[in-house]
Symmetry: C2
Subunit: 470 residues, 2 copies
């Protein structure tokens, strides 16, 4: 067994070496499409990204590759059945849309003009998430070439959505609409990261997300702060007071009912977290931040992986240009996002946040509270057999023991779990320094190719160790 595994590892690596250049050229072509789902002016680009991917999946060999429209941005669906009807069915999830990016935000090169510097590929979407979707394409080819198979060892399905960076507003409906075709025994989510280059890990959970925009309206127009200042409510002051009231003095979210249902960390989970080689200085450098802060009584890893949060993503109101303008502004706004953990219900969060805002807004200020589509939190069962396949495949690719983490970010994985009734596993090779949502997003080329290797090993391991219960 050990020898056959070793030779499979070598064969996969040899195959990848041969196809590496074409693989990176293809990925670069995809990254050049600015598929920013949050910006209406990029709607056509998101469509173009979907068409490009569907064509590439057909070229890869998937007998089915379709663009699935939604009321928003389209998803891509593909399937490649196994010649053994009894093989398990695995659905890979990722997304082809990306965060907004502009050179002026601090990029060293154009965000949609991929460039390799050193051993890194820089582009918006390189890690989040096009790179991590794309490694499966070469992975399945390597799997076939090195096993001599003509079909994958599992029934392989891919669902690559186009609205993940906009809160996946139509994703659940899409999954419900196509639940029959999407049916799977397990879902592999490739939209997360691992601990570090040196410590490969499998993620066992993601936080959920609820997002809202609060607009406060005071005077019907900007008014003179000398003539009226001190005697009427100022919406920019009111928005500041809302922000300040989000947390108590212990860093806990102070919105009544916010912690309802939260599943607390177990002692065992806290021990597993504590065993990871965590270096706070290094973490801060990755976070580009200059201090830790947060909920009292929890470590930094616990805060980002397993505790819910309220963060201000944007705030604005009044005069923000050069110089000064002595006004009381007519309106102000704040964009908030709430990260949620297992046991929290986004619908409940939306209700209590709306209620909280409305009770706190002072007389003379009108408020509007709008929510984007929410994302549910999720946790992978630690004892699921498919999880062991992911751990083994990753271990072969990296040649190291694989440990466990969680992910502070959010994805629509919980919708897949809910609708399809399948467990969700996480397979990602991104590292914290990749700069998700930030300027100079990149992917480490070595890790990207380890992702290809992992994908190449995974399908056979799943078929060998885990039969679909008939």
């Amino acid at each position: 067994m050990s020898q056959s595994v070793d030779s499979a590892v070598d064969a996969v690596r040899a195959y990848i070496d041969q196809h590496r250049a074409a693989f990176l050229d293809d990925l670069a072509a995809w990254l050049r499409i600015p598929s920013v789902s949050a910006q209406p002016e990029h709607a056509a680009d998101v469509h173009r990204s979907a068409e490009w991917l569907a064509a590439k999946l057909q070229e890869t060999g998937f007998p089915v590759a379709e663009v699935w429209p939604t009321p928003g941005a389209p998803a891509v669906y593909a399937e490649w059945p196994c010649d053994d009807p009894g093989a398990p069915t695995v659905l890979v999830y990722g997304h082809h849309d990306v965060q907004p990016a502009a050179r002026a935000d601090g990029w060293d090169s154009e965000p949609f003009e991929p460039v390799v510097r050193g051993n890194r590929l820089y582009a918006r979407g390189a890690a989040d998430d096009k790179g991590q979707v794309f490694f499966h394409l070469l992975g399945v080819r390597a799997h076939l070439a090195t096993t001599g198979r003509t079909t994958p060892a599992v029934h392989l399905k891919l669902l690559i959505e186009g609205e993940e960076e906009s809160g996946s507003p139509h994703f659940r409906a899409l999954v419900e609409q196509h639940a029959g075709r999407l049916a799977a025994d397990a879902v592999i989510v490739s939209d997360t990261g691992m601990w570090s280059e040196d410590t490969p890990t499998v993620c066992t959970g993601m936080r959920g997300l609820a997002e809202c925009e609060i607009r406060l309206y005071g005077p019907d127009q900007d008014i003179h702060s000398g003539s009226f200042g001190g005697a009427v409510p100022n919406p920019a002051t009111a928005v500041g007071r809302l922000v300040a009231a989000l947390h108590d003095e212990n860093g806990r979210v102070a919105i009544p009912g916010f912690y309802d249902g939260v599943i607390d960390l177990t002692d065992r989970e806290r021990e597993l977290f504590a065993e990871l080689p965590f270096d706070e200085r290094q973490w801060l450098a990755t976070a580009k931040s200059h201090a830790t802060a947060g909920e009292a009584g929890y470590t930094t890893l616990e805060r980002v992986w397993a505790r819910p949060t309220a963060e201000v993503n944007g705030i604005g109101g009044g005069y923000q240009g050069a110089g000064s303008k002595t006004i009381i502004p007519s309106s102000a706004m704040v964009k908030l996002s709430f990260r949620l953990v297992a046991g929290q219900d986004p619908a409940h969060i939306e209700k209590i946040v709306g209620d909280w805002v409305r009770t706190r807004v002072p007389a003379g200020i009108r408020c509007e509270v709008g929510f984007s589509s929410a994302t549910r939190p999720c946790l992978t069962p630690l004892d699921h057999p498919a999880l062991q396949s992911v751990v083994r495949a990753m271990g072969r690719a990296f040649g190291k023991p694989v440990r466990f983490t969680r992910e502070g970010g959010s994805g629509p994985a919980a919708d897949l779990q809910d609708v399809l009734g399948a467990p969700v596993l996480f397979l990602g090779i991104s590292v914290p320094s990749d700069g998700w949502h930030a300027p100079n997003e990149k992917v480490e080329l070595d890790l990207l190719l380890k992702g290809v290797e992992t994908s190449a090993h995974l399908w056979r391991d799943l078929a060998e160790h885990w039969r679909h219960a008939p």
Copy 2:
């Protein structure tokens, strides 16, 4: 005496009627120059405005009319000596720069394309302050024509600055530089308003102003709110907490030392305020606001005229565009203005605000606090004889008793008082609905012409009732 006053009133009105059309054409030409001192792109327009005014003053008959450069925007100085060397010297103050304005802010017409609708002239600067500077030009011509004089009855000087809407950063130095030529027995400030069309008033004081911009820096770049949220300080949250901490639960400014030296209102002043025909609903309509709010224990008039304030003029940070962006922003900022009352020292305010910000900013957040030039508060001595001349001249123009107010806004009048050692009087005909600093700024044409009349009567009254102490 009564007959001669009546005939003087008629003669002044007849003269103004004859010259009204040309006067309004000239004012419109001036208003077309977008002399926005706060916006660097309008620097040339502010220069053009000064040149235009100086030329117009020469055309009016002023033997001296000069553009005075400053390190920022230029002022205009003019003088017209009296043929009686023993006559008092009066310096008129106003400003030729205006607030920023753009059609998109909510204007019904172009802000720099004056238009008469009904009996109102709409344009940025119509009331604040070009209209109120300009009425003196026709006023002095009417004074000469109706008295048969070839020079004004007082030594008349004008100083019209170009940086009032930017906090007059170079004004005090300019006044100090030219203190000899500016020497006067009294200063007439025409940059305020009156109670209402029906209740002519003279203003006896203005609030001072200190302005600051606070910039808070957190992560070195925007970072992912999922990966890092809940574990590092967020500068947008920190800016909200600063704003919330500005006031206590009684609406008092909570910055330690803020009320140091404040001269409280006397019972007599509170009675005078209370006697004015104040209608809170009407005041709110003028303020375009939907509730009163402010420091507990004070009326609305007391709050805006005689109490110091802290207002947010602008706040910003993070993503403010369409949709959402799940980031912790790298920075946030807030622009604050503090209105000050007699007894408060702007330099002290700047020091305590800077100290307060620095002590409140949390670990991991870096702050920058910048101040614009400050404006001192001022109060006119109620028993000054020149004040009675202003009241009489205004009474003749309006045919009504004249009452007393204060002004919530700020102007550099206190610098003139400090440097020149002369009392400051306020003569303004603007009304609260004129929309200073707001879209659709206008001036009531009837009141503008009452301003001309008042100016025409004032110079003879001053000369007759108040001789310069030799």
